[in-house]
Symmetry: C2
Subunit: 126 residues, 2 copies
DNA sequence: TGTAAACTACGAAGACTTTCGTTGACAACT
DNA sequence: AGTTGTCAACGAAAGTCTTCGTAGTTTACA
C-alpha cells in the first residue's frame, strides 16, 4: 500500500534508464541534455539520490559507474496512476481516461488500443 | 499549454470545495479533519494560499469568509492527467489505463463505463 | 612527468510545501 | 465592562526538491 513516489526529476532519470538500458551518468546526462539544458552534476546528483533511495542500483567496478533501475517500471507506473486516480479522480477510472484525452482528439488507433485493453480485462475477470 | 499544478494539500481543499459548494474555512476544515488529523490554521493557510494563487475566490463581506473554486474542476483534472500521461506514460493512454487498474480488478460496471467513454469519442470524432 | 579531461562526492543555496503557533480583531455572553 | 470563543493574518520552522559549484581522484596523453 505504501507507494513509491519518485519526484519529477527522478522520473526523468528513470525513464532515460529504461530507454537506454544500463548506462553511465554521462550517457543518461546526454540523453536528458538533448531535451533541455542541465548541468552534468545535476544529473549526477539525481542519480546518486536515486541510488540512496534504492530505486536504482549501480555497478561501481568501473570508474564510470553503471546504473540500472532497481524497481519495476510497471510497479512505479501503477503507483503513480493509482495516486492520481484517488487524489484527483475519486477513484473513477472513466473520468481519468476522459480527462486525459479531453484536449487531444485521440486517434482511431489509440481508441482501438484502449478497447483492446478493456477487452483483455473483461476476458481475464468480470 | 501552461498547466496549473495544485499541490496535494491544495487538491484536498479544492476537492472539499467542489463537494461542499461555497464554504467557510470552518466547514472545509471539518470536512478534512473528519478524514485525518489537522489543525484549523493549517486549513486556513492553505486556503489563503489558494486565494493568492487565484485558484479560489472569496467573499469577505461576512466575518467568516466564504470560499469557492475559481477554476474549472475539469480543467485542473485535465492538466493533472495530461501531466502524468506525458511524464510517466510517454503519452500512451492505453498504458495509463492499464496501470491505473492493474491491481484493482475493475468491476463490470466500471468497464462498461469506460467502454461508453470510448464510444462517445468514436462518435464525436475519429 | 606534468597537465588536461573525466569522474565521483559533497555541500549548500534557493524555491516550494506543509504545518502550526501567536497575535490581534471582533463577537457573544455574563 | 470583562471574559471567552471564533476568526483572519502572519511568520516561521522543518522538510523536500532542484540546481550547481567546488574539491579531490583517477586516467589519458603530450
Amino acid at each position: 500500500m505504501n507507494r513509491i513516489r519518485p519526484t519529477p526529476g527522478e522520473w526523468e532519470i528513470l525513464q532515460a534508464l529504461w530507454k537506454l538500458g544500463p548506462a553511465t551518468v554521462r550517457e543518461v546526462h546526454e540523453s536528458i541534455a538533448a531535451e533541455r539544458p542541465v548541468q552534468y552534476t545535476t544529473t549526477l546528483k539525481l542519480m546518486q539520490i536515486l541510488a540512496e533511495k534504492g530505486l536504482v542500483a549501480r555497478d561501481e567496478s568501473a570508474r564510470a559507474h553503471q546504473y540500472r533501475p532497481a524497481v519495476e517500471r510497471e510497479d512505479l507506473q501503477a503507483d503513480a496512476a493509482e495516486d492520481l486516480l484517488e487524489r484527483v479522480f475519486g477513484g473513477s477510472a472513466a473520468e481519468l481516461m476522459q480527462r486525459a484525452l479531453s484536449r487531444r482528439k485521440p486517434k482511431k488507433s489509440e481508441l482501438k488500443e484502449l478497447r483492446k485493453t478493456i477487452d483483455a480485462w473483461e476476458g481475464r475477470k468480470g
